[in-house]
């Protein structure tokens, strides 16, 4: 069953009717769906004002919103501290920050049940924390310490957490999408009722493994939701120069798959919209492609000077920061400044504890290498 018209939370003057872009696609699927929304048009439809925050037209559970805000803030603060540690040379290699996109991972994880699987990209800190990994395990992994989630062998791009169903961040663009479909395949094979959420950027949409994965998931009706986090830039290349059709959700049409498309500016809306796709996967074993428009405030990685976009563009996007929005909503719901700063202080303590823990932990030794390569005796 598809939901009725969406409930925009934005109260500012829209240039178009209030309908959230993409809604029409949810109601009308198949070859006679409406023509693509041009990207520029899609962007204009997004109300651009945080000054007049309202509450989403859904029942808001203050405690839940508080919890989601806390997770987003925790992710952001962990990453800000990671960026600092990177600059100090305590973290090496690549570091891809999720700052700005937190509402996607947090809203998505909130819509899942314990036991569900998530599979993500190399920009995986947010998803790992949203799925329950401790700040300590994340930070220690970034520091390359044996107390990290992957014993310091995986690093920033490869966060795994088996008990919480975090099946990893992967470094080959698009290569993890078939793997995620395999998790859903196993769920259907066993009839275990789990749903898999697979995250990827719009940069993955241009590689073959994305298409093979969607094709097979649709053919075999597997319980998976494909979440395209469209942050508008495939590294430094904007949408218009990577996709002939900028509406990523349209790829679902070719595979006869339901689709959805929305902005990730309200964490509760993310939860609700992805929740619909997750329930469809769980109840009818039907996969969905969801394009979530989001924006990263930082560069692709730490080495990215970001010359491909203007500071005006970034500043405009920062005004739409979903985390600040959630905070404003909490104020609207009666959280006092004291309560919010107490929450922030608690988060701060957790982050500082994680940094201390990472700094003080031991490094892994070479004796770990062979046992972590094979189960059982090393095959040489």
């Amino acid at each position: 069953m598809l939901p009725g018209p969406s409930r925009s939370v934005m109260a500012a003057k829209p240039q178009k009717p209030q309908a959230n872009p993409g809604t029409e696609h949810r109601e009308k699927r198949g070859p006679d769906a409406p023509p693509p929304i041009k990207d520029s048009q899609f962007a204009r439809q997004a109300p651009a004002n945080l000054d007049r925050v309202s509450l989403p037209d859904v029942k808001v559970d203050v405690e839940e919103l508080t919890r989601l805000y806390r997770q987003m803030q925790l992710i952001r603060r962990v990453e800000e501290e990671a960026a600092r540690a990177y600059a100090q040379g305590k973290i090496g290699g690549f570091l891809h920050l999720y700052i700005g996109q937190e509402s996607v991972g947090v809203g998505a994880a909130a819509a899942l049940r314990p036991g569900d699987y998530v599979v993500g990209t190399y920009r995986d800190h947010g998803l790992a924390i949203a799925k329950g990994m401790s700040a300590r395990a994340v930070m220690a992994e970034l520091f390359g310490k044996v107390t990290g989630c992957s014993k310091g062998l995986g690093g920033s791009m490869h966060l795994f957490d088996a008990p919480n169903g975090m099946l990893g961040g992967y470094g080959i663009v698009g290569g993890h999408i078939p793997l995620a479909v395999g998790c859903a395949f196993a769920s259907k094979y066993r009839g275990d009722g789990r749903v898999t959420l697979c995250f990827f950027g719009e940069g993955s949409v241009t590689i073959g493994s994305f298409h093979e994965a969607l094709s097979l998931a649709a053919l075999w009706r597997l319980p998976i939701v494909f979440v395209c986090e469209n942050n508008e830039y495939a590294m430094g290349t904007p949408l218009a120069r990577t996709l002939s059709v900028e509406d990523v959700s349209q790829k679902a049409l070719a595979y006869g798959m339901p689709r959805d498309r929305f902005f990730a500016r309200d964490v509760l809306e993310v939860k609700q919209r992805l929740g619909e796709a997750i329930e469809r996967a769980r109840e009818t074993s039907e996969p969905t492609l969801v394009e979530v428009r989001t924006y990263r405030f930082r560069g692709h990685s730490m080495s990215d000077p970001g010359k491909y976009r203007t500071s005006d563009e970034i500043e405009a996007q920062k005004k739409l920061d979903p985390m600040l929005r959630a905070r404003a909503q909490l104020e609207l719901l009666g959280k006092t400044a004291e309560q919010l700063s107490a929450l922030d202080a608690e988060i701060e303590e957790e982050v500082q504890d994680a940094v201390r823990f990472a700094a003080e932990s031991e490094e892994p030794g070479p004796e770990l290498l062979e046992p972590m390569t094979y189960v059982g005796p090393f095959a040489r």
Binding site: L167, C183, S209, A213, L216, Y374, V375
Partner: protein
């Protein structure tokens, strides 16, 4: 003892393991209703149904990746490549995911999966369908690579591979599928062959021939030719390329003091080069002659029947190499 073909031996292995463990399933192109492109899976669809014998579309990257993900969360998939040539488009799944996930996750996940299918030359199928993929996979830590030559080993190793907790590339050969050999009856119990053990398939005193997969059969023919000339060749069938049982090879070289390594793949940096390196490192003082390799020719495989045979190791070329290390002729 009863004789069955290599093909039937593989089929028995798959069926027996599917019978004993519901987590074992097989997927690939034409494995089900079509009964297998090379009939290895004949009858399995009728016996186990579409849940466990899964026909895939032509999407090796997609279904190899699905196998990897399913293995991570507890299934034990067998992924059939119609031929190993087509694994090239799934290489990323095997190289970047299957072989890495244990290490990337700090041991939280493993990948118990078997990729299998015919490898190397068939008969006049041209350059794109005749490649030996051995070295591409044997090169990768995290993978095990098996390449049996005889029906008994094919069955016992495939069963062991399905039970192994690591990702395994199982290399067969189209030209071996009809080869018959003695295989114990299933009523005599589970036939399991240890992974990582080479086997002396012919004892000899003068020269050691190291080979695997189809070329082990050719090496036996070479040994028969040499016998007529009074030369006693020992043939070591590696069976497993990674792990590589160099102990068995070295024990043979310690006896014969001369070695020839024969294989289908190209010579540049191949599995043969690895075997030669281990012999020279560990048995330098045992050698009475440089170790020689007889490999596939260093060109894409030609279609022409005579040229194709010219490119492949033959009993005669292996025998000639043996005589060379014996300084005969």
């Amino acid at each position: 003892m009863r004789e069955i073909s290599y093909r039937v031996a593989l089929r028995e292995a798959i069926a027996e393991e599917m019978e004993r463990d519901d987590r074992v399933m097989i997927m690939g192109e034409e494995v089900g209703r079509y009964q297998g492109a090379y009939k290895v899976t004949e009858g399995l669809f009728d016996r186990f149904g579409e849940r466990r014998v899964v026909d895939t579309p032509i999407a090796e990257n997609g279904f190899a990746g699905i196998g990897v993900g399913a293995a991570m969360v507890g299934l034990r998939p067998i992924v059939e490549f119609m031929t190993w040539n087509f694994s090239a488009v799934a290489f990323d799944q095997i190289l970047s995911n299957a072989a890495k996930v244990r290490q990337m996750s700090g041991g939280q996940f493993s990948c118990p999966i078997v990729f299998r299918g015919p490898n190397g030359s068939a008969r006049q199928v041209g350059s794109q369908h005749s490649q030996s993929m051995d070295i591409f996979y044997a090169h990768v830590p995290g993978l095990k690579v098996l390449a049996p030559a005889f029906p008994r080993d094919a069955k016992g190793l495939l069963k062991a591979a399905i039970r192994d907790d690591n990702p395994i590339c199982f290399l067969e050969s189209e030209t071996l599928y009809n080869l018959k050999g003695e295989v114990p009856d299933p009523s005599e119990g589970d036939l399991l062959v240890d992974i990582g053990k080479a086997r002396v398939v012919r004892e000899g005193a003068d020269v050691t021939i190291v080979a695997w997969s189809r070329i082990s059969v050719v090496a036996m023919q070479a040994a028969a030719l040499l016998e007529k000339e009074g030369i006693s060749a020992e043939v070591v069938d590696l069976r497993s390329l990674r792990p590589l049982d160099h102990e068995t090879v070295l024990a043979s070289v310690a006896k014969t003091h001369r070695a020839v390594v024969a294989h289908e793949g190209w010579p540049y940096g191949g599995v043969g080069a690895e075997v030669v390196d281990r012999i020279q490192r560990h048995a330098f003082d045992e050698l009475d002659a440089p170790v020689l390799r007889v490999s596939g020719a260093d060109v894409p495989m030609p279609y022409n029947a005579k040229l194709e045979q010219w490119c492949l190791p033959q009993p005669e070329t292996i025998a000639a190499a043996c005589k060379k290390v014996l300084y005969v002729d």
